[in-house]
Symmetry: D3
Subunit: 134 residues, 6 copies
Amino acid sequence: MDEPTTRAERYARGRTVLDAIDGTAGANVIEALDDISPELGHQVVAWGFGEVYSRPGLSPRDRQLVTLGMLTALGGCEPQLEVHINAALNVGLTSQEITEAFLHAAVYCGFPRALNATFTAKKVFAERGLLPVA
Amino acid sequence: MDEPTTRAERYARGRTVLDAIDGTAGANVIEALDDISPELGHQVVAWGFGEVYSRPGLSPRDRQLVTLGMLTALGGCEPQLEVHINAALNVGLTSQEITEAFLHAAVYCGFPRALNATFTAKKVFAERGLLPVA
Amino acid sequence: MDEPTTRAERYARGRTVLDAIDGTAGANVIEALDDISPELGHQVVAWGFGEVYSRPGLSPRDRQLVTLGMLTALGGCEPQLEVHINAALNVGLTSQEITEAFLHAAVYCGFPRALNATFTAKKVFAERGLLPVA
Amino acid sequence: MDEPTTRAERYARGRTVLDAIDGTAGANVIEALDDISPELGHQVVAWGFGEVYSRPGLSPRDRQLVTLGMLTALGGCEPQLEVHINAALNVGLTSQEITEAFLHAAVYCGFPRALNATFTAKKVFAERGLLPVA
Amino acid sequence: MDEPTTRAERYARGRTVLDAIDGTAGANVIEALDDISPELGHQVVAWGFGEVYSRPGLSPRDRQLVTLGMLTALGGCEPQLEVHINAALNVGLTSQEITEAFLHAAVYCGFPRALNATFTAKKVFAERGLLPVA
Amino acid sequence: MDEPTTRAERYARGRTVLDAIDGTAGANVIEALDDISPELGHQVVAWGFGEVYSRPGLSPRDRQLVTLGMLTALGGCEPQLEVHINAALNVGLTSQEITEAFLHAAVYCGFPRALNATFTAKKVFAERGLLPVA
């Protein structure tokens, strides 16, 4: 874990994790940063995914549960919720579990945050042919 | 207060309160949940309105004042603010009182939150023919 | 309303409103600012109370309902909640109405915010001999 | 699911779930509400635990992951974090997974929220003899 | 500092500061308030800019750095961020410094808030012909 | 910038920056993480300070202005505010500028957040013999 790495190698490691979890939705965010803040794009990939997501201490599915909870609670993060609802499906959460997580969120964040997250899920599920959620 | 009730009866009780306060705006939210999270729709109605709103300890007008304060402070709740600005008008708050409440909000939440709430009110008031606010 | 006023006169006007609503709790906050940011103390009084609270468009009781909603939703404002729960009692809200407002808050902010506000009320009510809330 | 139930039965159902997940920490919160807002205590139990937590669609362990994410993101919820870090341990999350979840939180909420949550965990783990986290 | 001033004079003083810092973007916000809450428009100008911004204790450039930090952290303030990214450019911050400030924000607020602010900057910079940020 | 570095080297680079800006207050936070989440301590240092703070695009003084704005707006970050008010003094902001920044914060975040930050500054200034702020 303490072998020397270059900045490019750290990016490459994170990019592999990003692509596996977020798919094209994550890649699109990074690309959109190219002309405004490529360093932010680098750090999302090299640090967020390369240093944190890649750690073995919590499974990808567990990480998305925590992430969905945070993004719902923060509010105003609908673009990020959209990416991570897709990510949650990619790592094995079902559409039923995701909507259940947002119902659960009502207990801790109240209905407005829970509703905003649920309607973001509705948009993602519609795109992926997952409606209605049985 | 402790008579046995069915889940359907608790929904019906809440639905009566929801319809009286939020009108069609509330009903539209519940309907939009049908194919994604009917349980969330059920709980908004049966719990939020049936168990909490229906309690006699605070008048409907008072509840909307508290609610407008919360939604303004939370931020990112413009869809819910829109529903509850309508609700506030439905239960007797005037357009002048609502804009005054959002001016008051600037003291506690700062101008950005107060402005976002006020511009949401502008949209609702325009739809209901209440502009200009004298 | 457009007569010339001095800064001192604007402070005095706000101070009258502050004292009437917040009592010694408000005065203590202003005094505590004397050696660190007297200008912030001035603006809380001259602007917050002199320019906003003093307006006739919303009753003092209504303003406290909005304020309790905002402070609950913001979180981390327990010192201000303590001042304004006192203020709410001073302008005619009952202890029952205040606890009902915080129960109502659970619907929009979730239980943690509602609990923090309720336990702050418990502290204030105990100091004022208002427990138990029947 | 639609059999008639009394208010007391709904409380009892939630209380069983609360006791299983939160243990005495949850019970202490409910008891502390007795003289200030017994209705809030009732609703935490009967609705939060009886209606939401008790649903089969998400495991208790999964619910705590979402909850830890939300409480970290909300900020100012250290008392509730303390209860739910205990709950997380009770339902099978390890101390390593909990601290990993809070490291993960830094990506989405920044370091201050992650640090506050981690130091709350340190307090809970110390009480339960779980330090150092290996 | 304690000469008598009229309400109109206090507005005029603030308006000069607002126009110098925010330009037409600020003026448009005030104008949009005319038919819904002219008092809020008055207070943004007369108090926010006339009483606070006009104070000599912090330079306009420093004030925008603080402001960009706050608006990023608050979330859901994209319209205000847009105005203040323009203001930041007007008072001498470069596009490189602004994007660096939003990268810095990731450390304290997490990536979602940093991304939302950065993409708002992208919109403003595109309108002002400042892309790509080198 | 793309030379290979080890994890220990990246920590060392960040530690130099951390020590220069935050002094012992920062070091104490990292040390307190040793038995609960050494990885979080590593990332605060190696990433927050080594990768972000160390970048030349924004001066240390500018970074603290943004940081004070964010921590004030987030709320519930008094421990971090305490560290960064110290840091702000360390990198050249005066006590007058810091209190002015918190007055400015009232415009965007409201008085409660501004008051909490100001009273945190009062504590720090008292420890450093900087009261009263003239």
